[in-house]
């Protein structure tokens, strides 16, 4: 995983609540065996018409969305399936942080392991972000803060280990494999065997 310290970008806003992983990447795109190239499947059913042409009115197809690296979305973003294709698609499209009032557990975990920053903020801050699409916002992982254009700095929760991994580009599998001795001891000494 690449190091992620800061994301500075204009925002794009999808205010709908409970945006599920089937919207982020519909299941028919999951027959792939690689994470590459999923950006074109991002929000496919909202983004393309029946003939596969971009719908000009949909956010991702509008000129102001070009180059936006931060997505602001309604409450409970990423609910539903465990498909890691969801963060893969967002990253492949160019989204590096998602801001909401709540982010679903599995999606959150998957995002952190790929360098997509899940940011949860209070309702007032979220409300302001929803009302001000295109705002120039900074997500600062080191400080665990979102910096708004008016100078406000809003904290967001992130556990220390996840932050350490993002800031240092730490591959968690490498960390786990270093625990091999402890894992071996656990397997040898437990009172029952699965």
């Amino acid at each position: 995983m690449e190091k992620v310290t800061i994301v500075k970008s204009r925002t794009m806003v999808l205010p709908q609540t409970d945006i599920d992983t089937d919207q982020i990447v519909p299941a028919r795109f999951l027959t792939t065996t690689t994470r590459k190239g999923l950006g074109k499947a991002l929000f496919a059913d909202w983004r393309y018409d029946r003939a596969g042409n971009p719908k000009p009115e949909f956010l991702l197809n509008r000129p102001e969305a070009a180059g936006c690296g931060i997505l602001v979305a309604g409450n409970n973003f990423g609910c539903g399936s465990s498909r890691e294709h969801a963060p893969w698609a967002l990253l492949d499209f160019g989204i590096h942080a998602v801001i909401s009032t709540e982010i679903a557990d599995i999606f959150r975990g998957n995002s952190l392991k790929n360098g997509l920053i899940p940011v949860t903020v209070d309702k007032a801050t979220h409300g302001w972000l929803i009302e001000n699409p295109g705002a120039e916002v900074t997500v600062d992982v080191t400080a665990s803060k979102v910096l708004l254009p008016d100078g406000r700095a809003v904290s967001f929760p992130m556990d220390g280990f996840s932050k350490y991994c993002l800031l240092n580009g730490v591959d968690q599998l490498g960390y786990l494999l270093k625990q091999a001795d402890a894992i071996g001891r656990f397997e040898d000494t437990r009172s029952w065997k699965p």
Binding site: D20, Q23, T31, N110, L173
Partner: protein, 468 residues
Amino acid sequence: MSGKSLFQKVWEDHIVVPESADTPAVLYIDLHLTHEVTSPEAFSVLRSRGQKVRRPDLTLATLDHSTPTVRVASLKDLDIVSEPAAAAQIRVMIENCREFGIELLGFESESRGIVHIIGPELGITQPGKTIVCGDSHTSTHGAFGALAFGIGTTEVGHVLASQCLLQRRPKTLAITVDGQLGPGVTAKDIILAIIGQIGVDGGTGHVIEYRGSAIRSLNMEQRMTICNMSIEAGARAGMIAPDDTTIEYLRNRPMAPKGADWDAAVARWRQLPSDPDAKFDREISIDSSKITPMVTFGTNPGMVVPIAQPVPAATDDSFRKALAYMGVTENRPMLGMPVNVVFVGSCTNARLSDLREAASILRGRKVASTVRMLVVPGSEQVKQAAEREGLHEIFLAAGAEWREAGCSMCLGMNGDVTARGELCVSTSNRNFEGRQGVGARTVLASPLTAAASAIAGRIADPRPLLAH
């Protein structure tokens, strides 16, 4: 000091390295289930790093998601019936399992089926285990008192390589369900009512323990339906304490312990239920005597109403968008809405008891001429058992399709889809936009309600059709 909850006992029994302020716990995994959709990239990572699978003996693979539900006797057949990408994905799974020494219950196996149906059926799902799979409905296995949850593909790689996961301890939520269930009211209706009450994010960050007299009275298949949809409330996992029902279900299953090992396992399982003074972070109570058959009206499982009650009035844009997508009118009941497709299947409701319930309604009746009905058994074993009882003859006589096992129209990955704008009454778990096909409209319901709706050609209350 207060006693321990079921979750706490299982969690603590699997700590390889405890969590600290700086680091998550290293949690040992007793059973890793895997399927063709969420594993390919994980195997690629292992291959690129020269890693082996640490415990192939604790790993079990099957084919279910992109798998056709018409007969496939060979890979040649697969190429004829499947999209090239789906067929390629299945081939990659077969190759990965061969290369890494993992047992695959594939097309030639009589044990193949939906991953969350075959684990319990084989008896490899057991109380007190930690069970993971790259699939959010892994919560199903919690019905046995296992700690079972869905993971992403990166974590699939972690478990393959280390048999462990890095986890922060989740919070606990006790949901107590007491009260006698009315006729025609099923486990599906209970869990839909729970999600309707706490919302699709009501369980976020929590592991749910379902308890109370109504839960105790359910058989294992019904308990699996409840735990299966824990994720639809946003919960990490759902658990039910093991009891005599659990133990009798597991006795003599092919992969359950035998002889002295069985006795030792049962003694251990008996220790798992939450202590009477166990503390939970949150507690909720539900009176199940008030639950009626439930149907969803919107585009997430929390948008649900008792079948005869009107759909609530829209309160915000997301709600209005959901009603517009569904073609549903606020302040009117779902009852009577025309139906195009009925799907009985999925890891939520494709076990033998579910098929029996659907058949009890369909026996001697016909599916409406305007409705396509698919019955997709959850596994080869379920299929064979249903055929031994003649259930397939009831479905076929009624005009329904009787298919091979797989996930099928629950997520429409294998070609089984509902057409744009059509309404499908489905026994599956998600009514998200497009879940069952682009533009498809899904109404979640029990197998009884699905069968009654198939006959009426409209959303129908099953209670008048119940066999006495």
